[in-house]
């Protein structure tokens, strides 16, 4: 008989190996400096905005924009939200906030829903002229909005949506279609052929395969597209300005109007507070979904 081994091959004794010394290379220092500069480029103006928004006008008049507030006040924020005037209406940016929300949801549903199904059909079904269609979409992604704006206004007038929330939503959806369709199509191209073949043999129904197989596999890319769309719809100014009616101006338009139409002394602190209020929702989305954003960009469709 041979000796019974004290350790099975899977239970190797833990050995301490000397740690490798950390090395700092010249190139990494250069990258760090570059990144710090990039960060400061965003952070310094933001700092100025935040401190200005909580200062009294007396301190602002001194012109020391980098100094910390001597006396903190949240009155400008309250004023920005409730009292600021946009044209003749003095109800603060909160009107715009709710308008923006009302624009956001239909726009998201329309743009993502349409481009998702189009991308799915182009990637996984035999669509005639799919290549030509993709090429046209791809070209359309590079057409500047300003070029087609006037015809679009006329078109939306013809279909009787001009000046309504749905008008803004439809324009957002149409403009987002090329890019989003390409994103979805490329993502769905990674779904293995055999899964699609199996689904064709099992069910064969376009919608059933979409809702039961493909949609549940789209979590990652949905997050990416959601962030992309929420940011671009919320931050949009020009579509809201031209396609929104009197009562459906988004927050960005209200903000711009209120900054432009301030009477007498310019209340920088209220303007800054209003701008920050407008910028908060996309920021919140980034903080909540940012982790998934990176995962979604790097992960493929098949990770289960």
């Amino acid at each position: 008989m041979t000796d019974i081994l004290p350790l099975s091959p899977n239970q190797k004794a833990f050995k301490e190996y000397p740690k490798k010394p950390a090395k700092i290379k010249g190139s990494s220092i250069a990258i760090l400096i570059f990144l710090t500069m990039c960060a400061l480029f965003i952070a310094v103006p933001l700092y100025v905005m935040i401190v200005t928004s909580i200062k009294h006008m007396d301190q602002i008049r001194l012109g020391e924009i980098f100094s910390l507030p001597t006396q903190v006040t949240f009155e400008p924020w309250w004023k920005a939200w409730n009292e600021v005037c946009s044209g003749v209406q003095c109800e603060g940016v909160k009107v715009g906030f709710f308008n923006s929300l009302a624009i956001l949801f239909p726009s998201l549903i329309l743009s993502i829903g349409l481009s998702m199904v189009t991308g799915y059909a182009l990637a996984l079904w035999n669509v005639k002229w799919a290549g030509t269609f993709l090429f046209i979409l791809f070209t359309a992604a590079f057409v500047p909005f300003q070029i087609i704006m006037i015809p679009l206004i006329i078109l939306s007038g013809i279909i009787k949506v001009y000046g309504t929330i749905w008008g803004v939503a439809i324009v957002h959806a149409v403009l987002a279609m090329p890019l989003l369709t390409l994103i979805f199509r490329n993502y769905y191209k990674d779904i293995p052929n055999e899964i699609m073949s199996a689904a064709l043999m099992d069910s064969g129904s376009f919608w059933r395969i979409f809702f039961e197989i493909v949609l549940p596999m789209s979590g990652n890319i949905l997050i990416v597209v959601l962030i992309l769309q929420i940011t671009s719809i919320w931050n949009d100014f020009i579509i809201g300005l031209y396609f929104g009616g009197i009562g459906t101006k988004p927050m960005t338009v209200i903000l711009a109007n209120s900054v432009i139409t301030s009477r007498g002394e310019i209340s920088y602190n209220v303007d800054m507070a209003a701008a920050l209020l407008t910028a908060i929702p996309p920021l919140v989305i980034y903080f909540v979904l940012g982790k998934f954003f990176v995962q979604g960009i790097t992960a493929g469709a098949i990770k289960g």
Partner: protein, 364 residues
């Protein structure tokens, strides 16, 4: 159970013809293996039957009904894929249920079938897991289960075992064979692995270059290959091929071997059409048909040993000839007795010969 028939099938991609004038029928309850090297068109043929790609010309019928232009789901088929193709976001139960989504069934019937398949394949404890939590062999079972629940007559398998390790492959081979014996479905099975073909098939169709080279039972394919391609493709180590010239010596027919510079008596071979004096032929000899040191057999060769190879239960002696080594099966216990360079005499029974026309490659 249905019968599957291909009539004058052609498949072209642009100007490239993959299959042409192909005819094949699979009888009721038969286990047909489409066997051939990569790119021979076997998977294309299977996909044509499944309806995943369209034929350029020809007719496919299942159970007497033409299905050439039907959608995949309407053909009454179930298919198991090489990569299993399980739906990653569904549980095992969800995967099995989705297999039934084209058929309008009530909930009780769906549950009954899922339970039946799960029991048959012993995947009951896995029903609530996701495919990513399963091992390769378990995924394979689920894939087979998804096909089984459909309760159709024809099963298609597309190289289902090539992603498994050797041990699991042997197990699953037996499993599929057992299912076929139990359920008696008509099966069309694509593989490039001759062991799978030989062990499972009731009929093998050997394909090469989009053409069916031979259709027959595993024994027919192995013992009487119809041409040089089939002879060389089936068997491991593969059949020894010796080029020769026929010479008539009175009543006897002799084959003068080129590489071994010897001649053997081939009079005893059951020729379909006896060759003439001076014909170029190829003599094929299976490694296991040679007997080492048996000089009493009518055909024998003396060749120097190149090396001996042992694979546990088997051993093969490779002898030096002009071009390729000549393989002979020997007892593993004897393997050590053969020194490199020593001359060995190998005898063959003439009825075991496979003789082919050198020009056409066909069996004569």
């Amino acid at each position: 159970m249905p019968r599957v028939e291909f009539q004058n099938i052609a498949k072209q991609y642009g100007r490239v013809t993959v299959l042409d004038e192909l005819n094949l029928s699979v009888e009721d309850g038969e286990f047909l293996v489409l066997l051939g090297p990569s790119g021979c068109g076997k998977t294309t043929l299977l996909n044509l039957l499944a309806g995943l790609i369209e034929v350029t010309a020809g007719k496919i019928s299942i159970d007497g009904n033409e299905v050439t232009n039907l959608d995949p789901k309407d053909r009454g088929l179930a298919m198991v894929f090489q990569s299993y193709a399980l739906y990653p976001t569904k549980t095992v139960r969800g995967n099995l249920k989705f297999g039934l989504s084209a058929q309008k069934l009530d909930r009780a019937e769906i549950d009954r079938r899922v339970d039946w398949a799960a029991k048959l394949l012993q995947i009951e404890p896995l029903l609530d897991r996701k495919p990513s939590q399963l091992s390769g062999g378990q995924r394979q079972r689920v894939a087979i289960g998804r096909a089984l629940v459909k309760n159709v007559g024809v099963f298609l398998f597309d190289e289902p075992l090539s992603n498994l390790d050797a041990k699991l492959r042997t197990e699953m081979r037996l499993e599929i064979k057992r299912l076929h014996d139990e359920l008696r479905h008509t099966i069309v099975y694509v593989t490039h692995d001759q062991v799978e073909a030989m062990t499972m098939a009731t009929k093998i169709a050997v394909m090469d270059g989009g053409v069916i080279q031979q259709v027959g039972t595993p024994d027919e394919i192995y013992e009487t290959p119809a041409n040089l391609f089939v002879a060389q493709f089936i068997g491991s180590p593969s059949m020894n091929m010796l080029r020769a010239k026929v010479a008539r010596d009175g009543e006897r027919l002799l084959a003068n071997l080129e590489d071994a510079s010897a001649s053997i008596d081939i009079s005893g071979h059951p020729f379909a059409q006896p060759p003439k004096d001076g014909d170029q032929i190829v003599v094929g000899l299976r490694p296991e048909h040679g007997l080492v040191d048996a000089s009493d057999l009518p055909a024998s060769l003396e060749l120097p040993v190149q090396y001996a190879e042992k694979t546990g239960s088997d051993a093969t002696l490779f002898l030096k000839t002009g071009s390729k080594p000549f393989a002979v099966r020997i007892e593993p216990s004897q393997a050590a007795n053969y020194q490199t360079g020593a001359a060995v005499r190998v005898g063959f029974a003439t009825e075991k010969f496979n003789i082919f026309d050198a020009q056409s490659g066909r069996r004569i």
